[in-house]
């Protein structure tokens, strides 16, 4: 302790300088707005970034509680404005196919239930018969394929997504229009399977598969996926391949239902041929 005092007394010049300089700088930054706010900005930016990093880590520990609070809040708000839940927006889009004069109508809907981890996955959306949705209508998101409608109730619809044992989508190679069949063998929800690829087709990883337009469920040209892997079986007539789905089925929020306005005409035509 005594040595400290001796040290202070011997070096008092430097300490006094430090004290006086600090005092004048403190006065300076406090009193002058520009320098004060400049210093404040720098200090804030630094402490802000440090706090950000720390917060990014620590907020994970409270996620469960945050989720519960948010869900309760949402439930409270929903029950307060019940008509918002059933109100359907009037977002209807028409697409004119100039060559064939086919008209498609798109109805947007919100996915209220989804699954990707079962063998047969389905989605439920919040629009139904009252909104113009019927069975066997195609469901897309943007220009990517989702699935088709298999059940309709007045306010909701049940959709079989592509991640389903029973889902067969007629697709084709974008590069040469060769027809293929797209299915899902289970397992990874990002990967599907392309079957019945004729042997003479050269497959390259990254080839795009789009809808062929042969079924009257989906319009032509929607993205199904890209070739990820393929196996050449020497003793069979067809090759199979794995494709990476363009749609991320795990993150579906909103989808669009495709209404083919000329479907009735096509089906009538088919029926009239069969009955003869």
């Amino acid at each position: 302790m005594r040595n400290l005092f001796i040290f202070l007394r011997e070096q008092y010049f430097y300490f006094l300088f430090l004290i006086l300089e600090l005092a004048s700088l403190i006065l300076f930054f406090n009193y002058n707005d520009f320098q004060g706010s400049s210093l404040f900005n720098v200090a804030n930016a630094f402490s802000g970034s440090v706090n950000n990093v720390f917060n990014g880590i620590s907020e994970y520990f409270t996620l469960k509680k945050t989720n519960r609070v948010l869900i309760e809040e949402m439930a409270k708000l929903h029950s307060r404005i019940p008509e918002a839940f059933y109100r359907s927006d009037q977002n209807v889009f028409y697409k004119k196919d100039t060559v064939v004069r086919l008209e498609y109508k798109y109805i947007s809907a919100k996915v209220i239930s989804n699954s990707t981890n079962k063998r047969n996955n389905f989605l439920m959306i919040n629009k139904g018969a009252l909104h113009g949705i019927e069975n066997h209508m195609g469901v897309i998101i943007g220009n990517k394929l989702v699935g088709q409608v298999v059940g309709v109730s007045p306010h909701f619809s049940w959709i079989m997504s592509m991640l389903n044992k029973d889902s067969h989508v007629s697709g084709k190679f974008k590069k040469n229009d060769q027809l293929v069949n797209v299915e899902w063998p289970g397992g990874n929800y990002r990967k599907g399977q392309v079957r019945e690829i004729p042997k003479h087709i050269v497959m390259v990883r990254g080839d795009t598969i789009i809808t062929s337009g042969n079924s009257n469920i989906f319009p032509e040209g929607l993205l199904i996926g890209t070739i990820d892997d393929f196996s050449i079986a020497p003793d069979e007539n067809f090759n199979t391949g794995r494709i990476l789905f363009s749609t991320d089925f795990n993150s579906l929020g909103y989808v669009e239902v495709v209404v083919d306005l000329m479907r009735k005409e096509k089906e009538e035509l088919k029926k009239s041929f069969k009955s003869e």
Binding site: Y12, F13, L16, L20, E21, S24, L25, L27, F28, F34
Partner: protein, 171 residues
């Protein structure tokens, strides 16, 4: 340190502050030049003054000028830096204790060369710290350097003029 020098220093203290704030602060040639003549006080502090008193009195000098110019702390900080540097500058430009004749540094006692070095270095230190603190950013770097240069030149000129005046008066 005789009471005479103490008295002279105190008078000089107040006189220089008043001269600075009442007259020289309104001198603004071309927008670049701000003469800061009051640092003359720090230059003329006796050699024998204790370092603590030197620091404190420069702090008060700067604060006094600040109060009138509404920039509290700006001049005080620069004056304290200048006073801190003063002993080191004196030690490095004096070739020995024989140059420190007389108690007060002056043109007559130390000669023009010593006094010129002394003034230029200390005034530059003061003006650099002041102008950079004032602007507090690096954007107008060269303009600030210009300001420092021109203001220092003006201040040094004023200081030299007053030194010569005092030499003639004593003769």
């Amino acid at each position: 340190m005789t009471s005479r020098t103490v008295f002279f220093n105190i008078v000089r203290f107040f006189f220089l502050i008043l001269l600075q704030v009442l007259i020289l602060n309104h001198v603004n040639l071309g927008g670049y030049v701000n003469p800061l003549f009051y640092v003359y006080f720090i230059l003329l502090l006796p050699f024998s003054v204790s370092r603590g008193i030197m620091l404190i009195s420069s702090f008060l000098l700067g604060l006094g000028v600040d109060i009138f110019t509404n920039t509290i702390g700006l001049n005080a900080a620069s004056c304290v830096i200048m006073a801190f540097a003063r002993p080191f500058v004196i030690n490095s430009i004096s070739s020995g204790p024989e140059t420190l004749i007389g108690d007060t540094p002056s043109l007559k006692n130390q000669g023009i060369k010593w006094f010129l070095y002394y003034t230029i270095i200390l005034v530059l230190i003061h003006h650099t710290s002041l102008f950079f603190l004032e602007i507090f950013r690096f954007i107008e770097f060269f303009k600030t350097l210009l300001r420092i240069g021109l203001s220092s030149a003006f201040t040094i000129t004023l200081i030299l003029i007053s030194e010569y005046v005092f030499i003639f008066r004593q003769k």
